[in-house]
């Protein structure tokens, strides 16, 4: 059989930047309840994100990777997943993670330099944040294989950046997903930059979605700043995977409005005018415009949501700052199911020289 290998260059879009409807959205993709849910989740993500950056600036948090301007991707994907699905996130995916139940405090604890931040109370099966770029795609393939083998109706979802699609792990994992025919969705967060490297220096392919063709999986492009289109596409891909239809690669087009991380200074390599223009496309104002036009949102709603989010973030920060430090023993506690007897000496040495002073950041 010769597969259909055409991938439209134009991304799917339901909302214009001013919030006007465009394209031909199915009714369920623009349902008021869904739109409000996505809006709440994006605003919550941004409230958390900007606080985390501020905490880093005041020395209370380690390096942090902001998702400013890319909230629709994480939220669209997260809202399309079911609890029993599994997420293999990168370091910029707190939008999806918060929706899936990871607490803000857990994420702060992680970026604050404490391993307990990866021990999510919910969802228990999701992978921890993946820092080595590209490597987690293969984990998602393996998880999806496990679901298929057991006849479990779960889907594995991995999120990766545009730069990450240059790695060998990305190609080989996607290829394996095609061969194994597993329930997988890979979302490429194409925020146009891999630190200072523009997408044009990452690939000469016409689009990143085209990388799906060689792997024999479905590929498509979506406006990643349009939460409604993003959710719609993610939802369709996840349900296709769930019903045995195989893997999909989604290229979600967005723009990284912040620095790469708090350790980066994007003004060194980026034209501020381009960033300013990109900011006019951002996802939260876009959906707010739509909701307002439809009479589903007003200034009072906005003020109330702002207050609620600020309070939640404050509580999370307090809990984070009040988290007691781990003892030296935490280095050894979870290395093996049981500490090998031969490591007792090292444990005792660590105890002998243990000092407090486990500070924030």
């Amino acid at each position: 059989m010769v597969a259909d290998v055409s991938i439209p260059i134009d991304p799917l879009r339901f909302l214009a930047p001013d919030g006007a409807l465009c394209g031909a959205p199915p009714a369920e993709a623009i349902a008021p309840e869904l739109a409000l849910r996505l809006y709440h989740a994006m605003a919550r993500t941004r409230a958390y994100d900007s606080k985390a950056v501020a905490l880093q600036r005041t020395g209370k948090l380690g390096t942090f990777a902001s998702a400013l301007g890319q909230e629709a991707i994480g939220v669209g994907v997260g809202a399309a997943m079911r609890e029993e699905d599994v997420l293999a996130p990168s370091y910029r995916d707190h939008g999806a993670q918060l929706l899936r139940g990871m607490s803000m405090t857990e994420n702060l604890v992680y970026w604050g330099g404490d391993e307990r931040g990866s021990d999510y109370a919910v969802p228990r099966r999701d992978f921890p944040i993946c820092v080595p770029v590209g490597t987690q795609i293969a984990h998602a393939v393996g998880a999806a294989y496990a679901f298929k083998l057991r006849g479990e109706a779960s889907v594995a979802v991995a999120i990766i950046g545009d730069g990450g699609t240059s790695t060998g792990d990305f190609y080989s994992a996607l290829n394996m997903a095609g061969v194994f025919d597993v329930p997988l969705v890979v979302v490429v967060n194409n925020n146009q930059w891999a630190i200072s490297t523009p997408c044009s220096l990452e690939t000469a392919a016409p689009t990143i979605a085209h990388k799906a063709i060689a792997a024999g999986v479905a590929g498509l492009r979506v406006d990643g700043n349009d939460a409604l289109a993003m959710h719609h596409v993610a939802n369709r891909a996840i349900e296709t995977a769930r019903s045995g239809g195989g893997a999909t690669l989604i290229e979600a087009l967005s723009y990284r409005l912040g620095d790469h991380t708090t350790a980066d200074d994007a003004t060194r390599y980026r034209d501020p005018d381009v960033v300013r223009r990109a900011a006019t496309q951002e996802p939260i104002a876009r959906l707010r415009n739509y909701l307002t036009k439809r009479g589903l949102w007003n200034e009072e709603d906005e003020a109330r949501l702002g207050r609620e989010n600020a309070e939640e973030v404050e509580r999370a920060v307090e809990a984070y700052l009040a988290t007691p430090p781990q003892s030296f023993a935490a280095m050894f506690d979870h290395l093996f199911a049981q500490l090998p007897p031969s490591m007792r000496d090292q444990y005792e040495e660590a105890r002998r020289f243990a000092s407090d002073g486990a500070r924030h950041g």
């Binding site: 240059s166 790695t167 891999a194 220096l201 280095m331």
Partner: protein, 327 residues
Amino acid sequence: MAELTLVEAVNRALAHELEHDSAVLLLGEDIGVNGGVFRATLGLQQRFGCERVIDTPLAEAAIAGAAIGMAAMGLKPVVEIQFSGFLYPAMDQLINHASRLRHRTRGRLTCPMVLRAPNGGGIHAPEHHSESPEAMLAHVPGLRVVIPSSPSRAYGLLLAAIRDPDPVVFLEPTRLYRLFKQEVADDGEALPLDACFISREGRDATLVAWGGMLHEALAAADRLAEDGIDCEVIDVATLKPLDGETILRSVEKTGRCVIVQEAARTSGFGAEIAALLAERALYFLLAPVKRVTGYDVVIPLARLEHQYLPSVDRIAAAVRETMEASA
């Protein structure tokens, strides 16, 4: 002479070689406009152009593999890997190809490349940014592994690495990048590879260290000197091939040795030095050789990192134990 930080010294050495040898070129992620995440290549793309200072796609295996191809065809590529924790994808290329090309082709093709990477912990970096994989690399036949401990050694050793006809892994201690400045003459003078440096002379015990740990060892030596214990401190500098003679001569003089490494203990490079002493210095030893190392655990995130890294306290205590064992 200019006062330079270690990272500035790296930059000067790279600029010097780009200037004087048209075969030299640099490649890596974000090394161009951005000058690298630590700014080691700052200004070099502006000065030498995009064809000699190349921003690559995010793909360590391909970067290392392409460098091998360039080197085999007469170029002298200097690769930057952003952190040593991200050079693992390049290991296949280093182990299976870079290290063996000369050998496999009986010298017909060679691989004069340098792979630079920031190495080690102590800067409160995120997960996977504090690795110390030097022993894994030193285990590979055919690879040179060099770790500078100061701006002037970084300058001189990097020049030597670039001029060396074989593959060199050059690991730069992140902790030292901006820790202190030193006068460095930008005169194109290389330092010898495959040689240890004696950083401090002493009678009572030999401290052996490399990279960031050299400074903990020197600080421990200062502290011990207050109690009348006189330590010799050796900077290993090139781990592989190891200059065992300098270490042996020192231990024959002092009779005591404490090896300091920040990597995990088991199969670390300190074990190699301890084995050398067991084989060739046993009858000179007044006390058992001791190692002060990281523990055999995953390098902790920032908050527990200080519990993991060998401290001046731990090093000084080990030297005291060695003194007592032979009192």
